[in-house]
Every structure is written in C-alpha cells, then in structure tokens.
C-alpha cells in the first residue's frame, strides 16, 4: 500500500456550525449557500469565495431552511416557529407557528408561498408578503397522517413523506387534499424524499440503506418504471452493515443524483441507466445533507453526525464544497451490445 494522499473532500468552508447540520441549500441564482443547524443558527455562505455572509441565531435548533431570494430565506425551527430571515439587515420575522417543531420548509416560486411540514402532523402554507402576524400570513393548514419527515417541491408537485411510511403527493394549486396518497415502497422509515428535476417522479430513501425511484404517473406503464436499489452498505467478512441514506440531491442539468449516507460516502447515480457513476472519498462522518449549485458545477456536502446512534462524541461538523467534474455526474450513454453477427 502506498502512503495514501489525503483524500480529496473538496474545499472546507470556514466557520462551520458548531452543532449538527440539519440542511444546506444552494441558491437558485448564485453560489450562495444557506445552512441550518442544530446550533440554533441559520447561516449564509458564499461558497465561491468561502465567506460567511450572515448568521441569524434562533431560540432553538433550526431543522430546515430554504431561500426566498439571495438575501433572504425561511427557516423551520424546533421552537415551532416559521421565520423569514433577511440577511441584509439581520432581521427575522415570524410568519407563524406550528404546534410542534417544524421539520421542513419549502418556498414555491410559482405561488409565492412558503410550505412547512411539522411534527404536529400538519402542513401549513404561508404568504410571506402578509404583514407580521399569523392571521395574515397563514394561508391554510392541512392535516397529515403522521409527523412530517421530509418534503420536496418541483414545479407544482409537492411530495410529503411522513412517519409511518406515508407519502402524500399534492398539487400546490389545490392543497385541499392530496392528489395521491401512497405508502412508501420501502419497508423502513423514510429519511429523505426529493423530486426529479424533470417533475416525473421522486426518489425516496430510507434508514435501511435503500433508495426507491418512484413515478407520479399511475398508469401501468408509468408504474412499471419504478424500482429500488440498495446502497450505503458495507459487507464486512460476511456481515452486512446497513446505513441510513440521509440525503438525496439531483443534478440540475443531467438529472443524475447524489446520495449521502451515515457511512460517510457520497455516491452519484444515473437513475435512468441504473448505474453508479461515481463514489467520492469517504467523509469524516455521516452525510447529513447535499446540494448541487444551480449550474451543477459545485456540490455542497454536509459532513455532520446525524444522531443515528444517540448522543456520543463524533467528528466535528463540516461543510465541504467540491467542484464537480462532468465525468462524475454526466450519464454515460447506454452501451449498445455488440450486434451479434
């Protein structure tokens, strides 16, 4: 064995959160990166210059965040509150609150609404333009079968994954009831759900090292395309160790996707050709979140212990931004078998 060079993990951002990273997202307009953390902060980084541009401290851990525009965003907080964050002047407005910690937040550019999912078994839609005060901001409350665990929005489709392996699919123009009610194809608790960039379906990962690729189209032809695969496992001297798949991120251009697991690996997959394209070097600890930048040239990786084994000492939380080579994410053309002559 040659002395291994330090594995290339990408550029590590300065001044990372001091506790677990709950989510990170690239802006749709720039290389700004919004990061929410269990250390009660929401931070805004400029990933290209490695500068911490802003930080807002909450009263409780921040479980999710998303952008509004480049200088403002929304946060989902464990103090049950949904906030709008303005980083220019370090201001935060409370849009309203749930009855339990808010797990996920999404902003729809189409409707201009904020959608939040909470452990109080509801979704709520908010109008961030309304003046302060819940009465004005709250657009609607929609009961869910269980606590909301993950949520993804693509165009007008909203996929909500809850405890009890429920999956509700909404058309956000009509939130009165789900367009489809499904059960997860996977047998174990849902960790993450993300819509395909082409809007045809979603990928769903579970705590048991598995990802299901699902399609919205309910026809037989549409459903025949769905499948699931195993990943983030380790087989050690005949024993199988299965790791939760915490994060899924789709490449905005090629539609391939990266998964991150508690094994500290980030894998890139081509869902159409059912191939693994790339595996990056192992990160110090669990992959908590992943996000591609708007042009897919950067991949932000949150290497942060996700509490899968309870309170314990662990590697420091870190954010790595890596440059993505085309070869790592571009689907390889299907190999045509040699025409048997």
């Amino acid at each position: 064995m040659t002395a291994a060079a330090p594995p290339n993990l990408g550029r590590e951002l300065f001044s990372p959160p001091s506790d677990g990273i709950s989510n990170l997202r690239f802006s749709n307009h720039s290389d700004l990166l919004l990061v929410s953390s269990w250390d009660k902060s929401a931070r805004l980084y400029d990933a290209s210059t490695n500068v911490l541009k802003g930080e807002l401290i909450h009263k409780a851990p921040v479980l999710d965040c998303c952008f509004h525009d480049d200088s403002s965003g929304f946060s989902a907080c464990a103090d049950n509150k949904v906030r709008r964050l303005v980083f220019n002047n370090n201001r935060e407005d409370v849009l309203g609150s749930h009855d339990a910690p808010v797990r996920c937040v999404e902003y729809s550019y189409a409707t201009g609404q904020v959608i939040t999912g909470s452990w109080d078994k509801t979704l709520k839609c908010w109008d961030p333009r309304g003046a302060s005060g819940q009465e004005r901001s709250l657009v609607g409350t929609y009961a869910q079968p269980e606590r909301v665990y993950s949520m993804s929005l693509s165009g007008n489709r909203l996929v909500v994954a809850t405890a009890g392996r429920h999956v509700n699919i909404y058309d956000i123009r009509n939130m009165s009831q789900p367009e489809q009610r499904r059960e997860s194809s996977l047998k174990y608790q849902t960790r993450c759900v993300r819509c395909y960039p082409n809007g045809l379906g979603y990928a769903l990962s579970s705590v048991e090292g598995r990802v299901a690729m699902e399609f919205f189209d309910l026809s037989e032809a549409g459903q025949s395309k769905k499948y699931a695969f195993k990943c983030h496992r380790k087989s050690e001297s005949g024993k199988d160790i299965v790791y939760p798949v915490n994060a899924i991120a789709f490449h905005p251009i090629y539609g391939t996707f990266a998964t991150g697991g508690c094994d500290g690996y980030v894998n890139v997959w081509d869902g159409n050709n059912k191939k693994r394209l790339y595996q990056y070097s192992k990160y110090p600890t669990s992959i908590a979140a992943l996000s591609f930048s708007r042009d897919g040239k950067l991949l932000a990786v949150a290497s942060s212990y996700t509490y899968e084994e309870g309170q314990k000492s662990h590697e420091p939380d870190a954010i790595f931004v890596r440059n993505v080579n085309e070869i790592e994410v571009k689907p390889k053309p299907k190999v045509v078998p040699n025409p048997a002559t």
């Binding site: 064995m1 851990p61 405890a163 047998k187 960790r191 496992r233 005949g238 299965v242 191939k275 509490y307």
Partner: protein, 702 residues
C-alpha cells in the same frame, strides 16, 4: 232700625224722666248722641270711600298687568271693552279682571314654557354646533317682554334651521367619517385610532357624534391631511408601479410573479377616488412594491451587465474576426467599470457598444475584400513555412502512414508559393488604393498592413538569397565530394550533416507547427494521442471495479483517475487471490465476485448481464460457505417483498448468518416498537425537554 232707635230714645226719655234730668241736660245728651252718630256715619263713609278708591286702583292695576301680559303675549287686551261696558259694580269688575288675569297668566306661563323649550333646544343645538363657549349653565333666559306667537314662530323657525343644519352636519360628519374610513383602509391606517384622535366620540358607535365646529374643523383637517397623504402615496405608488411595469415589460417577468403586484399596477392610471382597495396605499404595500422594484432593478442591472458583457464579447469577437484593433477598447472597459460603480447607466453603455458594433460592422464591410486577401496571404505564408520545414526534412520521402497526404500537401503548397509574389503585389496595390480611398492606414491587429507586407517582402528576399547561398554551397559541397570521391572513392552519408530537428513531428501526421512568422493568431494545440490513450486506459480500469455489495444494479463508472487507480488495481489482484480484503482508501464493500468474469465483459454492467454474474456469485458463495442462503437477514430480504418488487433489480441474497450477530444498527429496528422516531426527533427530545413532553403526550409513551 227706626223703631229700635226710637224705642231706645223713648226708653232714654223714660229713664231720664225717671231720673229727673233737666231738659238742658237732656238736650246736651241728645246733641252728644247725635254728634256721636254723625261721627260714626262719617267714619263709615270715609271708610267706604277709601275702599272704593282702593278697588278702583286694584282694577286699574289689574288692567295694567293684563295689558302688559297681553302685549307681551302679543294679543289685543279684550277686557278693556268689558270694562267700558260694565259700569259700576266694581267688585264684579275686579273679579272678572282677576279671572282674566289668572287666565292670561296661565297662558303666559305656558307660552314661556314653550319659549324655554324652544330656546333650550336652540341652545342645545347651538352648543352642539358651535362648541361649548356659549353654553350657559343656568339654563335659558327668556325675554319676558316679548312672548308673542310671532316671536315663538321666529324661534321655531330658528330651531328648524338649526335642526336642519345639525342634520346636515351630522350627515356631513358621517360622510367625512366614511371617507376617512375608506382613506384609512386604503392607507393601511387604524381608522378607529384616527377618528378617536380627532374626537373621542367619532371613533365610537353611531349615535353620539360630536359635531361642533372645532371637531368639524379637525375632521376637515384630518381629511385634508389624509387626502394629501393619499395623493402623495398614490403618486408614490404610481411612480413605483410605472417603473415596475417598465421592468416587467423589459424583462418579460412571468405572469405568476406579476400576479402579486397586479393590484398595484392596475391602478396606475386611477384617480384619487378610484383607489378604494384596502391597504393599497399602505406603507407596507408600497414598500413591498418598492422592494420588488429594487429587486427587479437589481436583476435588471445584472441582466444589463450580462448584456453589456455579451455585447462587449460580441464586439471583441467582431474586432478579432476582422483583425481590427478598436482604438476605443479602453473606453468600453471604462464603461463596464463605470456601470459596476453606478457611474454610467448600463443602457447608455449598451447603446455605446451597439454603436461601436455597428461601426465595426461597417468597418468589416469596408475591410472585407482586403482581409480576404490577407487571409489568403497568411495561409500561403503558413504553407510556405511548412514547405520550408518540409524541404529541410530529409526523411520526407520515407514511406509511412499518411506520407502520400504530405506529398500532396507539398505539391499544393509549392503551387501556392509560386503564386505568392503576385498575391502580395495585388495585396499591396489593393491596400494602397484602400488607404487612399479612406484616408487612413489599413491596420491589421493594430499594426499597419503595408509595412508588414514590406517586412515580409524583405524577409522573403533574404530567404531567397539564403536559399541561393545554400544552393551554391551545396553545389560547392557536391563538387568537393566528387573531388574527394575521385581521391578516396567513398561518399559520406548526407544524413550526418543534417540536423533533424522537427522532422519527426512533420512526418508523423501532418499537424505541423502552424504559427507563422508574421504573428498570426495562435492555434489550439492538437490533442496528443498519448492523452487519448490515457483516457481509454482509465475507462478500462474503472470498468474493472464492480461492486458486489448488494448493489447489483449499479456499476461504478468513472472513478477518480489518479488517486484511486492504483489501489484499485491492487485490489483486484487481492480479490483474485481469493481474499475479501478491503481497500483502505475507498471501496470497502467489496465482495468476492469473481473478477475475471466481469473484467472480461468489461462494460456490460447492465442488469441482464448481472444476472449471469449473480449466478456465478451465488455459486461462489455456496462453494465457499457450503451453506444454503435460505435465511437472509431481515433487511436484505425486503427486496423481495417490497411493493416495488416489479423492479428489475436482481435481489442479491445475503450470505446466511446467525441473526443474532447481524451487526445491523440498533436504530434500524423500529419494527419492534409501536412508535417510530426519526433521529431528529430523538435529538430534539434530548435537547428540548418540552418536545420530550410533547412526544410522550402525543404518543402516550411512558
């Protein structure tokens, strides 16, 4: 009476007689008696007389009072006629008059009450209307001298007028308040607060509105103020909305984004009273529109900058294309910087660049003919220099791959080179003609073309002379050789004398050094074949490592080319040796798939192929462990039972093992509990006691 007086007198006479009074005494007594009687009468008469006079006076007084009352009531005194008629009987008269007076007094007091009522009403209304300064707390003072009906009517008239005024004013106040409320709602102000500020009664219920002058004035002022504010805000909004519309138009903003601000823009041409939508003119709304405008403005500036950059790129490309060094390139840069600093409007910069582009395009048109010639000349020069190199290559006739192409090229180049002088001459004449025509030098990449050609000519001449010299030398050498041959009979190989520097490059594929001596544009270096082969090798290498870690459907594609390559190779070797060892760097989950199989069918990592591999794999396992794999672990067996079992993913059966020792993480076993929790919930429970309580309450956990 007579009798009694006479009787008494007789009795007196008798008594006197009895007594024996003297006649004188008797007469004196009688005279006294008479005097006393007279006195009594006189007194009575006086008394009666006085009594009558008093009565008369009382009547006169009563009449006077009556007259006063009548006049004050504005009526003709009716009793005077009566008094004239009834002569004598003063007592009857006075009783009649007293009766009348009584009556009149009653009427007067009634009238007075009427007056008081009306006056009070008037006063009250006046108070309401004109404020408290004329309010008299003691009640009203009635002018007793004039209680006539006419006066009453006057007062009633006044009251009516006042009442009307009050009603009018009340309506006005209501109108004003309505206007105020609409203003407030449009402006996003608190109506109740505003109204209460003017007067506390205004903010309250319908009934008790203060309507005095002061309030009215304040109300009017407030309305005036709000109106001004509204006009101001409206202009503000309209200004902002106008710029918003312009920006939308400019940037083709999608309708969904516009939707949010539609109500701002649809009132762009509305007059003051047409704007009634609540909060339309509130500061919040205006600010939100403003922020939208500034956002779009920023976006616009961004886009403008992009556009400027693009246009500038276009301009640069154009200039480069026609080898025209724009003398004002600096100014374009300047505009770009000044846009960033906000010094110059992006649009003017854009216009400038557009102008430059059109100028350059015109320039291009003018230069086109000559440029084509220059281009031809350049290529000819390149060919010439290539030919020179080629001619110097002594291996040029060695047969090899592509040699015939080089030969052909040389042939063509020679023909071209022969045409060169004519070409140059034509170019010179054309250029001079052009310069004469346009009165400026023809510049090529910032250098004047004519001197360039001249220098080329000089160079060419030098080269020709050199060639001549070389030929001469060769000839001399040949002579010398023949002389030497004549002397020693041997001929040295010409190879030794030549320096073969660039020959190999030239003969290897025709991709020669193209850079001309005249400083033509640099060309991209051709791909070296070595890089290509590297690439293919890497691909092949990466195809070797196929995972067997339950990831049947996927093959690893391009791995890291440099760092991972070596260990992988080593790894495969290890595996072929039969051990399930792990690479410390990356790929731990290697399972013992026979790699010889997969490496043979190197790229076929497709599912179908995997099936066959799996067979091999299974065989391998069974062979290795000599155990059936009928007892898969809980986790791995799910593939078969999953809803997505139609998935064409071949389920990799796991190696059979005692479930007790399966090192599945404890957190992957939520099945055992009734209620599952995510890691985040557990973490939150650890951090937030309240959430722990919530969990216990909502889920009923102990």
């Amino acid at each position: 009476m007579e009798t009694t007086c006479g009787c008494l007198l007789n009795e007196l006479q008798i008594i006197w007689d009895d007594i024996g009074e003297s006649d004188e005494e008797k007469d004196r007594h009688l005279l006294e008696l008479e005097k006393e009687c007279l006195e009594v009468y006189r007194r009575k008469v006086d008394q009666a007389n006085r009594n009558r006079a008093q009565l008369r006076k009382a009547i006169a007084d009563a009449e006077a009072e009556l007259a006063i009352i009548c006049t004050s009531l504005g009526e003709r005194p009716s009793h005077i006629r009566q008094a004239e008629k009834s002569d004598g009987k003063l007592k009857a008269e006075i009783s009649a008059i007293l009766l009348q007076i009584e009556e009149m007094r009653r009427r007067k007091s009634d009238r007075r009450n009427d007056f008081i009522k009306i006056l009070e009403a008037v006063l009250r209304i006046k108070n309401e209307l004109y404020g408290s300064e004329i309010y008299i707390p003691g009640g009203v003072v009635v002018d007793e001298s004039d209680l006539s009906l006419r006066r009453l009517e006057e007062l009633q008239g006044e009251l009516l007028v006042l009442e009307n005024e009050k009603a009018e004013r009340f309506n006005k106040v209501l109108d004003n308040l309505n206007y105020l409320s609409s203003c407030c709602s449009v402006l996003g102000l608190d109506y109740n607060q505003t109204a209460t500020d003017i007067h506390p009664s205004l903010g309250e219920s319908e009934q008790s509105k203060n309507i005095n002058n002061d309030t009215m004035e304040k109300l009017a002022n407030a309305i005036q103020r709000l109106w001004m504010l509204k006009i101001h805000r409206m202009q503000q909004l309209q200004d902002v909305a106008t710029s918003l519309l312009e920006l939308w138009n400019l940037m083709d903003t999608p309708a969904e984004e516009q939707q949010m601000f539609q109500k701002a823009t649809c009132n762009i041409a509305a007059s003051e009273n047409e704007i009634t939508e609540p909060n339309l003119l509130s500061t919040d709304f205006i600010n939100s529109v403003k922020s939208e405008v500034s956002r779009l403005e920023e976006l616009k500036i961004c886009k403008m900058k992009e556009l400027v950059l693009k246009k500038k790129g276009e301009l640069d490309d154009l200039c480069r294309e026609i080898h025209f060094m724009p003398e004002c390139a600096g100014s374009v840069d300047l505009t770009l910087e000044s846009i960033e600093s906000g010094f110059v409007e992006a649009s003017t910069a854009l216009a400038q660049i557009e102008l430059r582009i059109s100028e350059v395009k015109e320039e291009a048109l003018r230069r086109k003919e000559i440029l084509q010639k220059v281009e031809k000349w350049m290529t000819a020069c390149e060919e010439e220099s290539w030919l020179d190199e080629y001619n110097r290559d002594d291996n040029r006739y060695n047969t090899g791959r592509g040699a015939h192409l080089t030969l052909k090229r040389a042939e063509k180049a020679r023909a071209l080179v022969n045409k060169l002088p004519a070409m140059v001459d034509a170019l010179v004449s054309k250029t001079s003609a052009w310069e004469n025509e346009h009165g400026v030098h023809f510049m090529y990449d910032g250098v004047r073309l004519l001197p360039m050609i001249d220098s080329y000519k000089v160079l060419r001449q030098e080269k020709e002379q050199e060639q001549k010299r070389q030929r001469e030398q060769k000839r001399l050498q040949g002579q010398k050789l023949t002389e030497q041959e004549a002397l020693y009979g041997s001929k040295p190989s010409p190879m030794k004398n030549q320096v073969v520097k660039k020959g190999s490059k030239l003969s290897c594929g025709g991709a020669g050094d193209k850079s001309s001596s005249l400083g033509g544009p640099p060309l991209p270096t051709p791909k070296t074949p070595s890089a290509k082969s590297n690439l293919t090798r890497d691909v092949k290498r990466s195809e070797l490592d196929i995972t067997g870690d339950g990831l049947a459907a996927f093959s690893s594609g391009g791995r890291g080319l440099d760092s991972d390559g070596c260990p992988t190779k080593q790894h495969s070797l290890n595996l072929q040796n039969g051990g399930g060892m792990e690479s410390p760097l990356t790929r731990k989950p290697f399972s013992p798939i026979p790699l010889t199989e997969s490496s043979k069918s190197n790229i076929t990592n497709m599912l179908e192929d995997m099936n066959t591999k799996q067979d091999v794999y299974q065989k391998f396992i069974t062979g290795n462990n000599a155990k059936p794999f009928s007892t898969p672990t809980k986790q791995t067996s799910t593939t078969l039972e999953n809803g997505a079992s139609s998935i064409p993913v071949p389920s990799t059966p796991s190696i059979s093992m005692p479930t007790g020792t399966t090192p599945v993480h404890p957190y992957v076993m939520p099945v055992e509990k009734d209620i599952e929790y995510s890691f985040e919930e557990r973490r939150a429970a650890f951090l937030l006691p309240t959430w722990m309580d919530f969990m216990q309450v909502s889920t009923g956990l102990p």
